[in-house]
Symmetry: C2
Subunit: 347 residues, 2 copies
């Protein structure tokens, strides 16, 4: 069974997979650079329509009304992760010695299969399909807000080097029984700022970025995308609702379209400017089942982290990232990466 | 000129390279998985003997007495990094707005070329050569402890996926004008423990690990290597001096051999058990030019982080690492990875 263990020095948590534990030979499918050498073959893809029995039974789907669960006919399909890092039925006890602390690996780990087509790419989805993905994210977010879990992490890994083990477009949701310390620290800072300045730190950032403009990548009526001042990764981009909102789960139906549009726009720009680079897209949102104050002080957003540089010894040693592309330059290239530049006859 | 920028939310720092800033086309040498496609050719290696003029002039070397600086005849050679992330001559001012804070990228960035042979590997160096590498690390550590810098990070990246852009065996030193917040946090925790328990947290960990034994990989008279209880990476291994010592720079001559021996032993085990995996090796040591208390409370050590898993969206979102190999199992495999198992006729 998986377990959470806390480092006595940093007080950070890790999830240790104690059952399906990997032995040295299990890493043999990676070459000596640590890269997966197994290719994903489309015919055997467990996320393709027709192969629904290869995944655990679906827990949610947007599908045509005349179709049955776990059969084709879906537009978006959510299933428990077959190789879950956390399990819902864990019921053990905390174990604590003077130095070490361990909790049962209780939580939720789901996969959101975003589209039936194996080779699709988010920026090229039909706009209504992108909206459906966000609807599924919201539905699962709200679903797991009810259950005594404390934090919900939705994320998307694209490209092998960014952690995607299957090619078929998908995202994931992991929910934890406590607020991760790194996230908690961020909540505290935002809370301090709120008390001192009587405004939301993120709202102030958005105002500053809109006014300055040098780091803005795109915006529409409801959302703003910009490269953050202290970007850890080249072309790092954050996407915020322009109006204060604590929980991603609170997003209104009428705003889903604007969010889908700006995500498709930003990811499309990244794809064009940098030849489809690997990336992680992560949601930041208020804790669920938390204190009211904590919830009100936060402002949900997405962080897009392109993986063009390698996080190495200096970063792991100090926590300081080296970014060779200033965000002002990154924003300039992303704003210039218009569809017309592709020379693909679309103009 | 490089600059430090502080994230207003997390308060973490990044180093932004503002001069040699990379444009999108500079990332074209990585394939669409973000991997470097350029190979390092031995003939043109700037770290090989005979090519000394391809690096900045050496700042330290262990070399035969009858040889000249920046010419062959060295055993270990230290040069400023040609593509330095920080520069010693930066003399700008702090810039601060209500939200954003920026410091000049002042500091030191050096490369330690560990051995003349291009294809050598640390565990297979002649034992006296490994000692020489540690002597060079100590010399540079002490050298930069005198200069108003606050933290010295020595690290070694091995393998492309772990950030090594050149094959020739080398390590690096980066020194910063402030204590990185992540490191500072660790110092505070250790200090709190010291005040509460009247003992060093790390000394207590070492005692526990030696007693328990399940996570011990190797030990000798002066050093202990074990897989930490909350390992973030599979086969993560920490190497500690068994006697309390705050600064790596304080290591005595007579202990360098024992440290070199356990490093060669542990890296050799890793190489044999996992077919030469990519890794980061990082030093943790007390801040330099710091407060006496801070210095006394810390206990220097090395962290070896094999890069067999991919740090992805969940880790960047929450700070929680997923480790599929429990440290107890990792330690078991590493202790069993003896030289005799290689079947290479050495037995």
């Amino acid at each position: 069974m998986p377990e959470f263990r806390q480092d006595p020095v940093t007080q950070n948590w890790v999830i240790i997979a104690t059952e399906r534990a990997k032995r040295p030979s299990d890493y043999a499918s990676t070459d000596n650079k640590g890269r997966e050498t197994k290719a994903t073959v489309k015919d055997t893809c467990p996320f393709c329509p027709g192969n629904e029995k290869q995944t655990p039974p679906e827990v949610f789907a947007l599908r045509s009304p005349d179709t049955k669960a776990d059969s084709p006919g879906w537009q978006v399909r959510v299933v428990p992760n077959k190789f879950a890092a956390l399990l819902p039925e864990e019921n053990g006890e905390e174990q604590k010695t003077e130095l070490y602390r361990c909790l049962p690996g209780k939580g939720v780990h789901e996969v959101i299969i975003e589209i039936p087509e194996h080779e699709a790419s988010f920026p090229d989805y039909p706009p209504q399909q992108a909206v459906k993905v966000l609807q599924a994210w919201r539905q699962r977010y709200l679903q797991h807000s009810q259950k005594g879990l404390k934090y919900i992490q939705i994320f998307k890994n694209q490209g092998q080097i960014a952690g995607a083990s299957l090619e078929h477009p998908h995202s994931q949701l992991l929910a934890t029984p406590f607020i991760p310390p790194a996230v908690s620290q961020e909540f505290n800072r935002v809370q301090e700022y709120l008390e001192k300045e009587e405004s939301c730190l993120f709202c102030d950032l958005l105002e500053e970025e809109m006014q300055k403009g040098a780091r803005v990548v795109a915006f529409n009526k409801k959302f703003l995308a910009f490269c953050p001042y202290a970007s850890r990764f080249p072309f790092e981009t954050w996407i915020f609702p322009r109006q204060h909102q604590s929980h991603f789960g609170e997003i209104e139906d009428e705003n889903l379209e604007d969010l889908a549009a700006i995500m498709q726009d930003v990811l499309g720009r990244l794809q064009r400017a940098l030849q489809d680079p690997p990336f992680n897209l992560i949601l930041r949102s208020a804790p669920v089942n938390g204190e009211t104050q904590e919830i009100n002080g936060y402002h949900w957003h997405f962080q897009l982290l392109p993986r063009l540089t390698i996080v190495a010894g200096f970063e792991y040693g100090t926590g300081i990232y080296i970014n060779p592309t200033p965000p002002e330059l990154a924003a300039q290239f992303l704003t210039q990466a218009n569809k017309e530049d592709e020379n693909d006859g679309e103009t």
